[in-house]
């Protein structure tokens, strides 16, 4: 029998490395041991990709043109269902960091291609990821890289590569920016057919040697006839890059509260582990600072929606209608997938909590988890009301928290909920009527937990 502490720790891991797990899933996972679960998470190739033919077939009204909504819908479906949850989580992490928006790109196939690239390579080598990013048509167009010519440098991509994607402000000079941009001259994309009259068309990366500035460039103290890949290799060697990634990983995977010691440990891991993100995440998940950081982050809307829906048991089958509501839900909470407002990505942590956004969060959770016929909810309530003998409201509350994935509820909230229920004594579960009463109370408890302040955290 696995201890509650172990189950609780695996629950924390699954919320951070994935999109949460229910009581039964957690029991199965924890029986394999925490380290083995981490090992599986960082080794997605052990598990098959989700089959999506049924999903595509039954969502033909969305799937017809790879619209951004469709890409976002498929992504939400994967967050809920993928046997490789860390891949999707890592894609979300990189999407926030390399924030590219549909508003400008305006091309579904290109946005889909970028998202797929982040998912497929997000756990691999960081230098390789930057090389792929620099060849990504959506990114090229997003930061005007196609207008960066040998004889007319556009610094936009060169600057953001240093400032927002790798090193952070204060670690390079304006000359470095200019020379970085020069190294990327000639990195462009094929012309895309206009959307009309027949729809969206993808684009490919092309390198035009004749448009490349072949001059000698001085970059971060090194000198040479650098091309884009050379610059990326230099960037990756910088201690500032490791620290930048340490901060980014810490704030996305560990905690909203800055912890310089932990950040330094992650930065060191990046250098020590050859810039392999999957291995760095293994280090993070096995670290004490991670284990101690449960509920130290405000859920992002994508985490909130995917996690809540996952718990409700909906959208496990690609046939199920209504999946398109999920991208709308994250939008109403302030996060439109594939359309971050700016290249800086979303403002996270406390900024997810805004009065309109909070109303959307509370209402969404109450609606989805209040749906007693949803398979996940029905199962949860059933399990919570099972067992021998009589049960107190407080025991029932603890069981619900456990079944919802070892959730946290502070003492004041517990007392408020129990007082409101006002159940004196115990509920007898021996009779059918008693069991029904227990189920009813459990259903009510699930809704109350989902509207709590604590539920906003992951």
């Amino acid at each position: 029998m696995v201890s509650r502490e172990e189950v609780s720790l695996v629950a924390h891991l699954m919320r951070r490395a994935g999109f949460g797990a229910s009581g039964p899933e957690l029991e199965e996972l924890s029986s394999r041991g925490y380290e083995s679960v981490v090992d599986d998470l960082v080794s997605p190739e052990r598990f098959p990709r989700l089959e999506e033919d049924v999903l595509e077939r039954h969502h033909a009204e969305h799937a017809d043109e790879e619209s951004p909504r469709w890409v976002a819908m498929k992504w939400m479906h994967r967050m809920i269902n993928s046997p490789r949850p860390l891949e999707e989580k890592a894609a979300l992490f990189w999407h926030g960091l390399f924030a590219t928006g549909w508003a400008k790109v305006r091309n579904g196939p290109m946005m889909n291609r970028q998202y797929s690239m982040l998912r497929d390579h997000g756990l691999g080598n960081f230098g390789n990821l930057l090389k792929r990013l620099s060849r990504d048509p959506a990114m090229i167009y997003w930061l005007d890289q196609q207008t960066n010519h040998g004889d007319a440098v556009n610094e936009n991509y060169g600057r953001e590569l240093l400032e927002l994607f790798s090193m952070g402000r204060g670690n390079y000079t304006e000359d470095d920016v200019r020379n970085c941009a020069r190294a990327f001259t000639g990195w462009t994309m094929t012309h895309v057919l206009p959307r009309y009259p027949s729809g969206y068309w993808p684009s490919d990366f092309v390198y035009r040697d004749e448009d490349h500035d072949h001059g000698v460039k001085e970059f971060l103290g090194e000198e040479g006839n650098f091309n884009g890949d050379d610059v990326i290799e230099i960037i990756v060697r910088q201690p500032a890059t490791a620290r930048f990634l340490g901060e980014a990983i810490h704030s996305f995977f560990v905690s909203d509260e800055r912890d310089d010691d932990a950040i330094q440990l992650i930065a060191d891991a990046y250098e020590g582990l050859g810039y392999e993100t999957g291995e760095v995440l293994r280090f993070v998940f096995l670290s004490d600072f991670f284990r101690d950081a449960a509920f130290r982050k405000v859920k992002s809307p994508a985490e909130f929606v995917a996690g809540t829906v996952r718990l409700s048991g909906r959208y496990r089958d690609g046939y199920e209608f209504g999946l398109a509501d999920l991208p709308s839900a994250t939008l109403s909470m302030g996060q439109e997938l594939l359309n971050p407002p700016t290249v800086e990505g979303w403002h996270t942590g406390r900024e997810w909590i805004d009065s309109s956004f909070l109303v959307s969060r509370v209402n969404f959770a109450a609606e989805r988890l209040g749906e007693v016929n949803a398979p996940g909810v029905a199962n949860l309530v059933e399990r919570a009301s099972q067992g021998e003998g009589a049960v107190s409201a407080e025991d029932l509350l603890d069981t619900c928290l456990y079944e919802m994935g070892c959730l946290w509820l502070g003492k004041p909230s517990r007392e408020i909920i129990l007082k409101e229920l006002g159940i004196e004594g115990k509920l007898c579960r021996e009779t059918a009527a008693g069991k029904d009463a227990a189920k009813r109370v459990a259903g009510q408890l699930v809704g109350m937990i989902a509207s709590s302040r604590e539920y906003q955290f992951t």
């Binding site: 209040g370 502070g410 004041p412 009510q444």
Partner: protein, 394 residues
């Protein structure tokens, strides 16, 4: 200290009520050339062979321009001197993407991608100490970027009817859940993370307060005006309810979609503008009957205009467009020159904009709401003289 202005002050209203701005967004790119028709220009009929509006159908404004025939009620407002039309609106380096162009109108920033909206900044200026959680209220599908500003409350309501927290629950269960919610979001000492807990608690209480305030509006409202049954009319009716309830809301937002008329333009546009025209007229009539019209000015805008030449069944995305400013304070008339249809004067097949939209924003912020426009619209723009001084309307 609130920036609220009342009687006697520069921008106040004679009835002593604080000025209120209603923004109505027409989504999809309204074809301004079919809304305010340059029927006097033969080029119009050359370019608009299939979707052109016949001179005999146009509601004449002067010898050159006229309203689309569906704008009957807005024409009445025009005749009453309460409608200003600003032609040739746009911004430098026009973007023909709905999303980007709408973002530009929302953020008042054509050059940079920013997250904050111009009305968000206006709401902060109107109520810097956040005394009123319903200073800004949007009706329709989600909070528009225009109203968003981190840390400044703005309320997004789909429909006033059914609006609230935990509305999917019923009866005793809902009351119970709301009780719990109220108490769980009260100031509470937590063992850890007190700052973020306080923030969530405060936000929850604000949300609750906004819900409670807004829910009182329908109860105090009664009206002899019968709005039509369509989402826009219902949104404007919701705005009338909240405004007449005197909750102190200063900025309202409503949206109306479907203007992306690449095809089937003639029928679609007619239907859309019938809805707008009637709903707007009903709205102002309703406010007047409640003695609550004088302080209200409405801006109607769209993210861009459409191509000068039609495509055989509709029109495609263009740039230069136009806007309406309506209300009793408004000095009715035409503002800004209608852009030339001469091919040499067009901008890649579009009407060439000649009025930066931020001029309209600046006018409304400064001369109506009484707040400094510079930081809100990112610069100083020439203003239109389209508002009567306080107390001299009508």
């Amino acid at each position: 200290m609130s920036a609220e202005k009342t009687v006697g002050q520069k921008n106040g209203r004679s009835n002593g009520k604080a000025p209120v701005l209603v923004v109505l967004q027409l989504s999809g790119g309204n074809d301004f050339m079919s809304t305010v028709v340059p029927y006097g220009d033969p080029l119009y009929y050359d370019f608009r062979q299939t979707v052109g509006i016949r001179e005999s159908d146009v509601l004449h404004l002067d010898s050159q321009l006229g309203f689309h025939p569906a704008l009957t009620e807005i024409k009445e407002l025009w005749d009453e001197g309460d409608a200003a039309v600003i032609s040739g609106t746009g911004y430098p380096e026009p973007d023909r993407s709905h999303f980007r162009s709408m973002d530009i109108w929302h953020t008042a920033n054509p050059f940079e991608y920013v997250a904050e909206g111009w009305l968000g900044r206006a709401i902060r200026a109107l109520d810097p100490s956040k005394r009123n959680v319903v200073t800004g209220v949007s009706f329709g599908p989600g909070l528009p970027r225009a109203m968003y500003l981190s840390g400044t409350p703005a309320v997004s309501v789909a429909h006033l009817e059914g609006y609230g927290l935990l509305t999917t629950l019923e009866g005793q269960r809902q009351r119970s859940a709301l009780n719990v919610f109220t108490r769980m979001y009260a100031p509470i000492e937590f063992e850890e993370q007190q700052m973020i807990m306080d923030h969530i608690g405060q936000t929850g209480r604000d949300a609750m307060e906004a819900v409670d305030l807004l829910k009182t509006a329908p109860a105090t409202y009664s009206s002899s005006v019968e709005y039509e049954q369509n989402p826009l009319a219902q949104s404007l009716r919701d705005i009338a309810q909240v405004h007449t309830a005197g909750l102190g809301t200063r900025v309202f937002y409503a949206q109306h979609g479907g203007y992306d008329v690449h095809g089937n333009q003639v029928q679609t546009q007619h239907k859309l503008w019938r809805e707008v025209s009637r709903a707007v007229r009903d709205f102002f009539d309703d406010l007047r009957r409640h003695d609550a019209s004088e302080e209200v000015v409405m801006l109607i805008f769209s993210e861009f205009g459409r191509r000068v030449r039609d495509n055989g069944n509709g029109t495609d995305h263009g740039s230069g467009g136009g806007a309406f400013v309506l209300g009793e304070r408004v000095k009715g008339g035409l503002y800004g020159e209608f852009p030339s249809l001469e091919p040499s004067q067009q901008l890649s097949g579009d009407l060439h904009y000649n009025n930066d939209f931020r001029s309209i924003y600046s006018t409304l912020l400064d001369r109506h709401l009484g707040i400094a426009p510079g930081e809100i619209v990112n610069g100083n723009f020439e203003q239109f003289d389209l508002l009567e001084p306080v107390g001299q309307a009508r």
